[in-house]
């Protein structure tokens, strides 16, 4: 494989020398971006903005209206309107000259350097960016599958699933049980399931105060655990129980037709069940053949290039990069590093050392926001954390309110950074 690659690239290099005038006459270098979320929309926008027309950029995203997964928990809690999470690609097309194609990428031919779309079109690329987010691992929660997601929603890709889950909780019988099957590591948005529990508890406290919440969690520990537990004790005392692996949570199956959860052999009847399965890179990464045994796409930290194909960059949740959490903030941060590397490779622009950062805000109750964040640098082995901070237990109400307001500012900031 290496030999063949080496051979091909030397042929390509020689070819360029002979055909240089033709290359100049050709179209601009082509970048195809698959996935229009925090990674894909950002990289497309930064490539267009900073290359000032030198690159031909195509963004492939099946949905015409993008609903952000970040802040979708706040919709569940009644803090955001659904439409406030909606964003369109109009500015990326109109103001940045990006060719926005609403289709699904179904194939990648790495030899020919083309992407095939569900509609049958074939897009050639000089560089390909895959930012496909997550897909679920089959069979990770026995008894659950896509055919049962209408009964037991995952709501872990924002859209109709999120609206369905909210409706189910709103219509739950008085005193009923909401159950969450939490995912094993690694997964999108580490505090996400626990912020979701907080938001559902907030909604239930107002509308159905005798209801219970049961978290079935295969992990020993989770993100911001001390902060969430303190907040739940304060705002929702007696409402939330969590069963961890010490009580058999790692051995859980669901029976959607009976609305039952079987935890290590013991059957629980539940009223609403939110199953968040184990995750892997969005399936196009595996189709492209750049994923590892765990199902994620390993990347070179300095450029976010796939370790298996230097012409492909992988961003966000789908990438296996090291210490950064799978978050929209991380994907946005990685996208800027990738955009710089791609411009450097295709247009000869300056390349500076990669820097990454992340902050994740979570809302526990009205005006009770917390955050965790870190700064990162690229090493040869991985993206490595170099500094970090986290909100503290016992903070005063004014600081928590300011933290929540800061998260609103961040939402406005990152969505402007993605969609222009």
């Amino acid at each position: 494989m290496l030999n063949r690659r080496g051979f091909l690239s030397s042929v390509a290099a020689t070819g360029v020398a002979f055909s240089a005038p033709m290359v100049l006459a050709q179209a601009r270098p082509r970048v195809v971006v698959v996935g229009g979320g925090a990674g894909g929309a950002t990289v497309a926008r930064y490539l267009a903005k900073d290359s000032k027309g030198a690159l031909d950029i195509t963004l492939v995203e099946p949905t015409r209206t993008y609903y952000t997964c970040f802040f979708s928990n706040l919709y569940l809690g009644g803090f955001r309107e659904w439409e406030s999470l909606a964003h369109s690609y109009g500015k990326l097309a109109a103001d940045y000259g990006i060719n926005v194609v609403h289709d699904l990428a179904v194939g990648v031919d790495r030899g020919a350097k083309t992407v095939t779309l569900g509609g049958g079109h074939v897009l050639p690329y000089d560089r390909l960016v895959l930012s496909p987010g997550i897909d679920f691992k089959d069979g990770s929660v026995p008894g659950w599958g896509l055919e049962s997601q209408n009964i037991m929603p995952h709501a872990y890709k924002a859209g109709s699933q999120t609206q369905l889950l909210k409706a189910q909780v709103e219509n739950m019988r008085e005193g009923g049980t909401f159950c969450m099957i939490a995912p094993p590591n690694p997964y999108r948005c580490p505090p996400g399931p626990y912020e979701r529990v907080s938001m559902i508890a907030h909604m239930l406290k107002e509308k159905n105060p005798t209801a219970k919440i049961l978290i079935v969690d295969p992990k020993e520990r989770y993100s911001k655990q001390g902060l969430f537990e303190e907040g739940w004790m304060k705002h929702y005392p007696g409402m939330i129980d969590r069963i961890g692996p010490d009580f058999g949570a790692a051995n859980t199956e669901v029976r959607p037709d009976a609305m039952e959860v079987v935890i290590d052999g013991s059957v629980e009847k539940v009223d609403v069940c939110n199953v968040i399965p184990a995750q892997k890179a969005g399936v196009i990464a595996a189709i492209a053949g750049i994923t590892d045994d765990a199902g994620w796409a390993p990347v070179i930290p300095h450029t976010m290039q796939s370790r298996m194909d230097e012409n492909i960059h992988v961003l966000g949740d789908a990438s296996a990069q090291g210490d950064m959490p799978k978050s929209g903030f991380s994907a946005n941060s990685q996208a800027k590093v990738a955009a710089m590397a791609i411009r450097g490779a295709l247009t000869g622009s300056s390349v500076f050392p990669a820097k990454f950062s992340n902050t994740c805000w979570s809302l526990i109750a009205t005006d009770d926001g917390v955050k965790v964040g870190a700064a990162y640098e690229a090493t040869d082995e991985k993206i490595a954390s170099v500094d970090s901070f986290v909100s503290q237990t016992g903070e005063d109400a004014a600081l928590r309110k300011a933290t929540y307001e800061e998260s609103l500012g961040w939402y406005a900031g990152i969505t402007a950074d993605m969609f222009g």
């Binding site: 941060s333 710089m340 300011a402 961040w410 900031g413």
Partner: protein, 232 residues
């Protein structure tokens, strides 16, 4: 009195005179320029600005009956305390500590003048526990930014690249809901503020982390870039 002189001698060993307390009588004269907005002493009440009695050791923005700016409230939530050091920073350049403060005052560049003014203000903070030179923080590092750092000409193009790390939260168009705008911020204020985060005299965990790994040239480049932008 002897102890006081000794303390001043120790403090005076640092590079900035403002780290010690100056001449309160001279400070009273200097306070003339503050009087249009601030009252201090017996019977002082809020005017355009809040009264300044017992300011040392108090949380920033702590008067419930004074309508502080959004920025001041944010600094309050961040837990900023008025100490000799923070007051000195604020009086030198208010916007370097609280970017959106409504205090329309260019600042006092002379460290000696600031020390005198602070000596005067301190007379109206009667709680001995608040007397700043009794606190270990009073001997903290000099906050004055090295003029050589302020003189660095930032490269706006490099700043534009680095700004990607800022614009995830700070909107380029100058919107400031929840997170302050840094668009069109005067470069010197920007540099001083970032260095104050870097040395952690200005509180905020995210900004301390971000500034903590920016070097002098990078801060200058960011300042140069954001100063060139127009807010909508």
């Amino acid at each position: 009195m002897f102890g006081r002189l000794l303390l001043l001698a120790i403090l005076g060993a640092g590079p900035a005179a403002a780290q010690g307390l100056g001449d309160a009588a001279r400070g009273a004269e200097l306070f003339g320029q503050c009087k249009r907005c601030h009252q201090i002493g017996a019977g002082a009440v809020h005017r355009i600005g809040p009264h300044l009695n017992r300011i040392f050791g108090r949380k920033i923005g702590a008067h419930d009956d004074y309508p502080y700016s959004k920025s001041m409230k944010r600094a309050a939530a961040d837990g900023l305390i008025w100490t000799l050091e923070t007051l000195d920073t604020y009086i030198e350049n208010p916007k370097s500590l609280v970017s959106g403060t409504r205090m329309n005052f260019g600042g006092i560049k002379d460290a000696g003048d600031r020390a005198d003014l602070l000596a005067y203000l301190r007379q109206f903070s009667d709680n001995p526990a608040n007397i700043p030179e009794a606190e270990p923080t009073a001997t903290a590092t000099d906050h004055d930014i090295d003029p050589a750092i302020l003189a660095i000409q930032g490269d706006p193009a490099y700043g534009e690249y680095l700004s990607g790390e800022c614009t995830t939260c700070h909107q380029v168009d100058g919107e400031d809901e929840g997170i302050p705008s840094i668009t069109a911020w005067p470069a010197e204020d920007f540099v001083i503020a970032l260095h104050n985060y870097k040395r952690k005299t200005r509180p905020h965990p995210v900004m301390q982390m971000i500034a903590g790994r920016l070097n002098d040239e990078e801060i200058a480049a960011l300042a140069a870039y954001f100063a060139t932008l127009d807010a909508n």
